[in-house]
Amino acid sequence: MVKFYSSSDTYNYPFSAVTLAYFLRYPNPYSTHVLSTDTIARHFDPVTQRLTTVRLHLKRSKLPSAVLRILPKSLLGASATGDTQAYILEKSIVDVKEGWMDTESQNLEWTGVLSVVERQSFRRPVTQAEEDLKMFQGMEGAARRHGFITFASGAQVEDNGETTDVTSTVTLHSHIGEKWKKRKAAGGVADEEHKEKTGFFKSWTTGSLQSSIELIGLKRARRSQPNAKEGMKVVLERMREGGLVAVLEGMRRDRETIVGHSTALKKRSNGDDVD
């Protein structure tokens, strides 16, 4: 009983710019709910020229009222209005030689209630990759061609007609009400949830409950995916217009907006910290 969302798109920017924008996508005007981003692991393999990155994002989220109605508050750890925070773990691998980047993001908490796994696959179109390979094999100018960016001179994106294909999928899976495999740290949670089921969820069959939650998640994914794409496009546009300097300046402004939001939120909820 898994739900699935999938879309594909083409960015009118070269692959290397898209990968950079991916790392720089927060904050952007479409992501004011992202409170923080940390790199928790990074590995570069000089032989394959692949870069593996693990990051942790903290996002402010508002639980849909439909979920608030379904789930008991004791299970949610959210405020009465549904304000909560969610940790998202993101892993990515970039292969600059072969021209692909694969990413995978997932929620860390409440994976039993709803596990959301988002995968994105960025590809330099094949013909381009073949051309690039030839250039890598000794032709002059490869470095210049790939060096669309120069930090010192402001990192401009050359508009040379290159594109990048992207496919995104979101997989939603609810295990609620199941006695799923207990994890060491979450063992207590699993027990508690099972107990809740006998009381609060009595009137629901496990299947219908899971399905309802997955559907709510799916609707949310359908709404948020276009925004995520728009956010990437804002970052890419900034890069094209003013290079890395413009991206960083834009991030600074967006970050100020976020701080402003957080302060307003805290004031409104009258010190009811949602941590």
Binding site: L20, D38, L89
Partner: protein, 81 residues
Amino acid sequence: MSASLASECNEVKEKYDNCFLRWYSESFLRGTATTDECKPLFDQYEKCLKKALKDRGIDNMIKEARDDNMENDAEHMKPRR
């Protein structure tokens, strides 16, 4: 730049992020990178962050998620051509 989860790590994070951006755009993307030149800064950042994650009790949660993913990674993260 994005903020760190832990404000006490912001300074070292920014240093690392700047180093990374330079290395990524000037070496990695050009295919000329031989080592991760920002490793020393990352180690400092990681030290600060590790403590912050532990203090918040999310270090184990992350470890488990990453362990669970090992097998999935083999399937989903492999190159497709």
